[in-house]
Amino acid sequence: MPDLMGPEAKKIGRQLFYMVEIDLEMCSNVYGQAPCTATGPVSTECFNCWETCVDKENYTQITKTFRFVPNNINLPIGLDAYPCISKFPEITPAEMEQMKGIGTRGACKITFSDFEYHDHLDPYWRTRQQPAGGTWWGRFRARWPYYKERPLRLYVGYAQDPFDVENMSLRLYFIENISGPNSKNQMTITGKDILKSLSDDRRSAPTVSYAWTTEPLTPGETQIDYEFDADYPFPAGDFWIEIGEEVCHVTTNTGTTLTGVTRGAWGTDEKEEHDIESAIQECLFFDSVNIIDVVFDLLVNYGGVDPAYIPFTDWEAERDVWLLANSIYAILAKPQGIDQIISELCEQHAFNIWWDETKQEIKLKAVSPETLNAEPPVFNDVQHFLKDSIDIRDDDTNQITQLWLYFGVNDPTESLTDPGNFQRLLVARDFDAESSNEFGIPRIRKIYSNWLAFNQEALARTIVDRILVKSSKNQKKVKFALDAKDIDIWLGDNIVVHSRKIQGPDGRYAQLQTTITKVTEKIPGTRYEFEGAAIPFVPGVRYIFITFNDWPDYGNATEAQKRTGFFISDGENAFPDGGEPYRIS
């Protein structure tokens, strides 16, 4: 990962600087001048914002960026910003919870002091009869009451001459709330990461339908007369619907009649009769679509996420290594929250997604063992870990020694947590972990997968095996802090922890491979606190790939190729360079 804070982070005496921008909207017209048809005497003009607009038909929206900096440091000359941030931004980090969906949302909270201001922000301040009263934030709240999900950019970096925002590290959030002033005359703006917009009360898939039958529907009928709200049309044909917990396939839609209807599909029962004005819901059907395409579809087409935030090329690379077989053949009969759907997919297909605010990207990564052979950076007590920051403890919260995977749902309209509603059950178990030589007790996790079809046993087995390898043993949680000079790691990255607090049986310092699950900017631009989940090391087990045809023999292979590729020796002797032969276990 490239250096987040740039070369300035390595300077002694680097001067902290941070800046917040929020994008709202205003009108580009001039009051009373075409196309604005507003009329009124001087000093009664609007404030060029929607809330005060008196000619909304001709309102011409442009983006208005407000910029804020701390109220206690030197301001770059000429920077158009309000120096009213009263303390360090409080950054609540996103937390990656293995296979628990989108994880904990990242957020930031910015606190501002209110202040008096001559209101040159008002486009018509020169002609107002009375000078502006009140305060900056008081007027702002009245003029811009609409702010949810607008961008909030937090720049963290160091003062440089000349000042250039391109030299700063950007974190992107979206405004969740603006509140205040409080009893101390302070305002706060809370921003959340983009995945907050997917919460179940905001976005759903499939999109809700607004249609209803105009005639009773009796068994055997293959034609449905209906009406619908013009804002919620059905497709022209070949789609699935749900009426009263019965799923049907529609061949053709004439606009008033659904024809060629196949009744009682997907394991649902053909009901005796559906009453007139029964609600009709269009279903969302995935016909053997790869998991990353499903997630992309949900985020973009149903979640409203800008595809610019999805590094799909990276997703494809991850898919090509670990998720090629993960296809979805499933139907969603009723609207469900996007958050919930993606959480299910993450759990049932063993991958994680999270928002990287420093790159403004939604990351996707499979639960996979490849890190054991990667060469992650090493961090140690002498050069990296800050004083009194290392903490290592056992954490069996997410330990799994026995995994029960139910898949092949019978009826998608019935309970999805009832084992009786699933055709297949796959049980995977780490007997050694449960034995009296190790943990001695089982830790059972049940997964009810409506996203694995009954005939996807091979995929199901791969998923449970990966989950068990990651989760059955040696669960440790690692905490440490780093100076900004070492911030070339972030959430989701793998590192090696080398500390006196990790020792082998002989007392020598040992190493712990760790995946970063949480990053907190304790002092922006200065101190960063990390949490990680140790990657269990299984002695004698090595994960490798069948090599490409054009790879060289072992003697000519690079170190990286030797580490990840599968080479065959003569079985008895070491490789020419002294390397141990690979053994298949």
Partner: protein, 256 residues
């Protein structure tokens, strides 16, 4: 060694004429804020900030703060005119070598027309945050020890980072400007009675220029504003009074 306060600003009382960029209006130059600037949109090398009064006014100082004249090697001077035709320099042209506040004393007859003339040598017009001119307030006493000259009174927060084994790993600095004390003691109570109301009014409503030793260290001048509670002058004995103003100040805007 004479200390001065420069807070009487005549500009708001006059009619200002100056070319301006959008967002950098001429009024920004006398709002006392250091985060708003006037900037001309003229493209010629020499441009002016002109102020006309209804009647002649007396001026014996001018101040400039929150500027970047030094970046382009620009210069500035205050001029006056009795007829709005012939102009006379109030003081020699000032060539600032840094972005520290400019505080200049001078003398001139009462005049109705005043202007700042700026010669631009850089590629872009400079930003000027605060412009002020008027009559100075001379403090009756010099500044006594113990005392820290304002440019040395930095108010930085330091964050040191040490490793688990005690190695020095890094340091961040948060700059809070400058923190100064302006103390006057052994004052004639009559001086307090004549001047304190105006000083208090100023402290509560605006910022000011301050020079602790204009004769020997004119570059030590700062642009300051009250930091703490309103100071209260008090008697130290039966015939003398004192006051202490605690202020935050702007001197050099320090960046790497």
């Amino acid at each position: 060694m004479t200390a001065y306060l420069g807070f009487r600003n005549l500009i708001p009382e006059g009619t200002v004429t100056a070319a301006e960029m959008e967002g950098f209006e001429k009024e920004n130059a006398f709002d006392w804020f250091t985060y708003t600037w006037w900037r001309t949109n003229e493209s010629q090398q020499t441009f002016r900030y002109h102020v006309e009064f209804e009647a002649p006014v007396n001026v014996n100082y001018y101040g400039v703060a929150a500027h970047n004249l030094n970046v382009g090697g620009d210069n500035i001077r205050l001029q006056y005119s009795l007829d709005n035709i012939d102009w006379v320099d109030f003081a020699p042209i000032h060539w600032p070598e840094t972005n520290a506040p400019i505080f200049v004393l001078g003398s001139a007859p009462a005049a109705q027309y005043w202007r700042f003339t700026i010669n631009q040598f850089g590629t872009e017009p400079p930003y000027l945050g605060v412009l002020s001119f008027g009559e100075i307030l001379e403090l009756p006493e010099g500044i006594r020890a113990p005392f820290t000259p304002p440019p040395a009174a930095v108010n930085d927060e330091i964050y040191n980072m040490e490793s688990a084994t005690g190695q020095f790993l890094g340091r961040s600095v948060e700059r809070f400007g400058y923190k100064i004390d302006i103390k006057q003691d052994q004052l004639d109570p009559n001086w307090i009675r004549e001047n304190w109301y105006e000083i208090a009014q100023m402290l509560s409503t605006q910022a000011f220029f301050y020079s602790w030793n204009q004769e020997e260290y004119p570059d030590d001048a700062v642009y300051a504003w009250l930091d703490d509670k309103m100071p209260i002058p008090k008697y130290t004995n039966s015939i003398m009074m004192e006051f202490l103003i605690k202020a935050r100040a702007l001197h050099l805007i320090r960046w790497f």
